[in-house]
């Protein structure tokens, strides 16, 4: 038996149609989009545009041309942060962030950007009033994850979005853990910049991700991370200043984006609400089952409705690394243990530096897998007593 519970890192298996879309591109299209105008180049451009439309539809973004593709969410967050923030600007973020956001912010801090980290509760929750209090006249950006990669706790991005609209700063949301698994409407939630990754709940391959750029962001003020050929304005030696070209220099990963489009279309066909309901049922059973095992500590809100399908726990007397090894070797259960690239989040929930065991469930997991995993943890916990 093999149970894949590492979907918070990368989803697997992929939805039907994803591999086929990538094979189709490789075998029947293959050409460079946006350069030549022959039929295969145009078809490649259509596939790329279709991927923009699929992502825009999923997140309710008004304009597919304001969907910029990057190689993952880390690059998208770097683009937003390094592209918009200048010395003297102030940023508000939370103590539950992943290093994909924290590290670029800490680097910007050294060049004169001011950073306020608003503390979250030990359950990982954030009080929007604390964000509001941290906003200053120089606050250019509020940057938050939509859900923690460590404990799955959802942050109140729509409430913060309303505050940002009233007080002025832009809102950047890292949707790595929620895109495709939890509904998000960037217009209703007033999200100005949304970073997403393709290889988790969007069902796409690695090497795909992007940034959805709202109308409140002036792209003329956005510095691209990389400059180069775009297929447009070739007579000019300066970078174009319009989206998406200004942020997409060099040949894009069309084979990957063909897969991403197929993944997003699958999510749209099944429905994010339906995927969410399935994951909530699994998460609730997992949390309740784990809490009933003596010696097991579960972290987070302990409420399936307040989090994603990512559940963090520890077994008394057994280091998480040992638990991870035994789960894989003896039970065929694949998960991730340790600090999950998020030291701030582990400090917040009180598990730094030891870390936790993380079960990251996904759309393709089933209840019998949750039951098998609970039985395995029960046995290991018995040994730890």
């Amino acid at each position: 038996m093999m149970i894949y519970f590492d979907n918070a890192a990368t989803s697997w298996p992929k939805p039907p149609g994803v591999t086929e879309a990538m094979l189709h591109f490789m075998e029947a299209v293959g050409a460079n989009p946006g350069r030549a105008a022959h039929r295969l180049a145009v078809e490649s451009g259509r596939i790329l545009y279709d991927a923009r439309e699929a992502v825009a539809e999923l997140f309710h973004a008004a304009d597919p041309l304001r969907v910029v593709f990057t190689k993952n969410v880390t690059e998208a967050l770097n683009l937003a942060l390094r592209g918009l923030l200048r010395p003297g600007d102030h940023v508000v973020t939370s103590s539950m962030e992943h290093n994909s956001l924290m590290r670029p912010l800490r680097a910007l801090e050294r060049s004169g950007v001011q950073v306020t980290v608003v503390g979250c509760s030990p359950q990982g929750t954030l009080d929007p009033a604390d964000v509001e209090m941290a906003i200053r006249p120089t606050t250019k950006l509020v940057a938050l994850n939509h859900a923690s990669n460590v404990v799955g706790t959802l942050l109140p991005v729509a409430e913060v979005g309303a505050i940002c609209r009233e007080r002025g700063p832009l809102l950047l949301v890292d949707a790595a853990q929620t895109g495709g698994a939890y509904p998000l409407d960037v217009q209703a939630a007033r999200v100005d910049l949304l970073g997403f990754t393709g290889h988790k709940s969007l069902g796409g391959p690695m090497g795909t991700g992007g940034l959805v750029i709202g109308e409140r962001v002036d792209e003329k003020q956005l510095d691209p991370l990389v400059r180069g050929g775009t297929g447009s304005r070739s007579e000019q030696e300066v970078q174009p200043d319009f989206l998406p070209d200004m942020c997409e220099s060099g040949t894009p990963n069309v084979v990957g984006l063909a897969g991403l489009a197929a993944g997003v279309r699958w999510v749209l066909a099944r429905g994010v609400e339906a995927i969410r309901a399935h994951e909530v049922a699994l998460t609730r059973a997992l949390i309740e089952g784990l809490r009933a095992i003596p010696g097991v500590t579960v972290y987070g809100t302990l409420d399936a409705e307040s989090q994603t399908a990512t559940v963090a726990f520890n077994i008394a007397g057994l280091p998480c690394s040992e638990v991870g090894l035994r789960l894989d070797d003896d039970y065929g259960i694949m998960c991730r243990v340790g600090l999950h690239c998020a030291p701030a989040a582990h400090r917040t929930i009180g598990t730094f530096p030891d870390g936790t065991v993380r079960f990251g469930l996904g759309a393709f997991n089933a209840m019998d897998e949750v039951e098998a995993a609970l039985a395995a943890v029960r046995e290991l916990a018995g040994e730890g007593q």
């Binding site: 946006g34 350069r35 451009g45 597919p64 447009s232 174009p240």
Partner: protein, 75 residues
Amino acid sequence: MSDGAYAVILLYATSHAIRAEKVLKQTGIPSKMIPVPRHISSSCGVCVRVARADQEVARQALEQAGVEIEGIHGI
């Protein structure tokens, strides 16, 4: 191709041209993506060719859909 039979619609980028193609298809205006003629622009990109007779209705359809047009040239 007879002289003056077509118009080419220049867009700002390939992604814009593909959006234009989609809009024109939905509107029922025949179009084809072709390389931007060198005598019109030195851009290495693509443009959308329509029949000269469809030029105005194409322009209106694109403007209504919010597609920014860089220029329209008869060829």
